[in-house]
Symmetry: C2
């Protein structure tokens, strides 16, 4: 039971979004701009950053909803996603993405944890200013989304396959026109 009365049968962020469409719209527009719009980081890479930060914040709904999307875009299995969450340095991902995940991990603790050395390392591996900017804002925004979902005590399906099955449809629809009732 969530802490406030939310429309029934909508797990995770969908309940609060249906409860308050005035804030849902800019939240979804932000997700669309960060995770889905044209970018030199692939959609899979950006969803992976979102998944990793949601894992660090221990948000079950977000790490599985976005983990499912990352898995869909990257055409990998759940074991690969879990490997990135547990130890991305050992995962088979580009070194640039590892450097960006390091920055994202700092942001999750505090903005002040990001260091010039972390940013320079990412840049030396080819990260652009826009990619660094977007990594910081994706990580920061999931510190918001995760707190929004858990701070209202929402519930979420425990079967991780639920999220994986929904991912292709979610990938196609995108965020901006998102209908929390669907």
């Amino acid at each position: 039971m969530a802490y406030i009365e939310l429309p029934e049968g909508l797990p995770g962020i969908r309940g609060p979004m249906a409860f308050r469409p005035e804030t849902a719209q800019p939240l979804n527009d932000l997700a669309e701009a960060l995770l889905r719009s044209e970018n030199s980081l692939t959609r899979g890479e950006r969803e992976l950053i979102a998944t990793y930060v949601s894992h660090l914040n221990d948000c079950f709904f977000c790490q599985n909803a976005h983990g499912g999307l990352a898995q869909h875009y990257l055409a990998c299995d759940m074991k690969f996603i879990d490997g990135v969450k547990e130890n991305f340095q050992h995962a088979d991902i580009p070194e640039k993405i590892k450097a960006l995940l390091t920055i994202a991990g700092s942001v999750q603790k505090s903005g002040k944890e990001v260091t010039e050395a972390q940013v320079e390392h990412a840049r030396s591996l080819g990260a652009t200013d826009k990619e660094i900017h977007d990594t910081v804002l994706i990580a920061a925004s999931f510190c918001m989304f995760n707190r929004y979902v858990d701070g209202l005590g929402t519930s979420a399906p425990l079967d991780r396959e639920f999220y994986i099955k929904r991912a292709p449809k979610r990938a196609e629809e995108g965020y901006s026109g998102y209908d929390p009732y669907q």
Copy 2:
């Protein structure tokens, strides 16, 4: 010097917002919906929640920019704002706002820190579901804004009067049409 090349002379969040208008728009739309739109919480009360969370996250720019706005709306002095930041239980504010600040303080740590007892206490003092929802999302969103500002290593004027002087103009203009160059 910020970690990425931002338009010059724009302190705090204004640099990243000028750098990336595609994400600035939903961020400002979110701030407008949460902090400035019609609400049973006053604008001053909502800016106070934003200020308190920014203080907990030690974000100098945000706690002063929004502290200046809270001071403007509440027609109080800086000492009053600082008193709320340091110990709101002793401040001359309604008990309902103290209960909402307690929830905001939990959200700042983690969404999972919010308890049913905190929410019930706020409700017993007259807080509505919408007020509780908005408190959680204001607190969560400032966990994003603070990380965005500090995670990119932006700079900010150290003179706190700078923010107080800007507040009346900022209050009048609002967030949605915000021009970071002004």
